[in-house]
Symmetry: C2
Subunit: 186 residues, 2 copies
DNA sequence: GTCTATAACGTGATAGAC
DNA sequence: GTCTATCACGTTATAGAC
């Protein structure tokens, strides 16, 4: 053990960060399948093998990279009787989150990705939702609410419903938000 | 032009049918990614190459195989004011369709599969729905309705919401069906 | 001439040697 | 950390069987 060792500068940290950045860009732009380990490596200026070494697998890199982008926290806080429309509005405005969701779903054939999707919904949406509702069937309503939210995201970013994508956002907020509200509170 | 030509009996029809049957089974059971062309070929007792020759690609085989399983026709017909609950009920009872939907979504990284998903929703669900609603915003409501239906399917078969899967179906029909109804008819 | 089988090609992720 | 090997995949090229 060298007493004069540097204070652990973690010289691989910079490389990992670089890889993360490139992955985030490429995965979001081209999706999981179309983005190869070699593409990421080339763009980051590193060897393909070290990506696996650092992150374990392409799957885990994908999950780690795209996580922590979607936060419902902001949309959830506010008056309960406006929850439905507020959430739809947040959903329609934040394109970034939608894009990430789409990429994740399209990669959901991989088990790790699907597991992440599951955990993400449960922890980030259903759990806080169940907490803020106080009806006896709060838990059930929270799950149904999440499903309904997922439906809109699915339409917009997975099967790409052109009609909804180009429809006036306010009309969607009005109708879907209203229906969503009914799911949350009788 | 030979007047006595046979009506193209397609000598390989039996083989194609065999491949279709095996594919249907394996794709539904193990999903798109985990099912290899070689697996299908082995199970069907044919050569891997002829699968590609007959169906063009694994993707097209997948789509052709799993199509025509989901038909909303039966659930759609009936009184309009009961549409929501009727559809949820149909959805919860027919496990087959859900399974197929899940497999399709998990393969939606492939462009052909995603295109099929898009067309499938548009033609089989949205279009007939828009026809039977007669409000001025019927078109919009039909699209929102489809999105909401997709959400429930997504929860049950893609991110596998255990709570919803094991919840009493009647409770779900009641709440989600009610909300769905509101989406369809003010 | 149409259908089928053999063998290869290109590319993907990943594991192991240096 | 880097390079190279390996293995599985979908797909194609080629040639044989009916």
């Amino acid at each position: 053990m060298t007493a004069t060792s540097t204070p652990r500068p973690d010289r691989s940290a910079a490389v990992k960060e670089k890889i993360r950045g490139v992955s985030q860009h490429l995965f979001a732009r081209d999706g999981f399948d179309a983005t190869g380990i070699r593409d990421i490596a080339a763009e980051a200026g590193v060897n393909p093998a070290i990506i696996i070494r650092h992150f374990g697998s392409k799957e885990r890199l994908f999950v780690e990279t795209l996580d922590a982008k979607t936060s419902w926290a902001h949309a959830l806080e506010g008056p309960l009787d406006d929850l439905g429309k507020r959430l739809v509005r947040a959903l329609m405005s934040g394109q970034g989150a939608l894009h990430v969701f789409g990429a994740t779903v399209r990669a959901s054939g991989r088990s790790d990705v699907r597991a992440y999707l599951q955990a993400s919904f449960a922890e980030k949406l259903v759990a806080p939702l169940a907490e803020m509702l106080d009806a006896p069937d709060a838990e059930l309503r929270a799950h149904l609410f999440a499903a309904q939210v997922a439906g809109m995201m699915f339409a917009l970013s997975v099967y790409d419903d052109e009609y909804l994508i180009s429809a006036p956002a306010e009309a969607i907020v009005e109708l879907y938000g209203d229906s969503l509200q009914r799911t949350a509170t009788g």
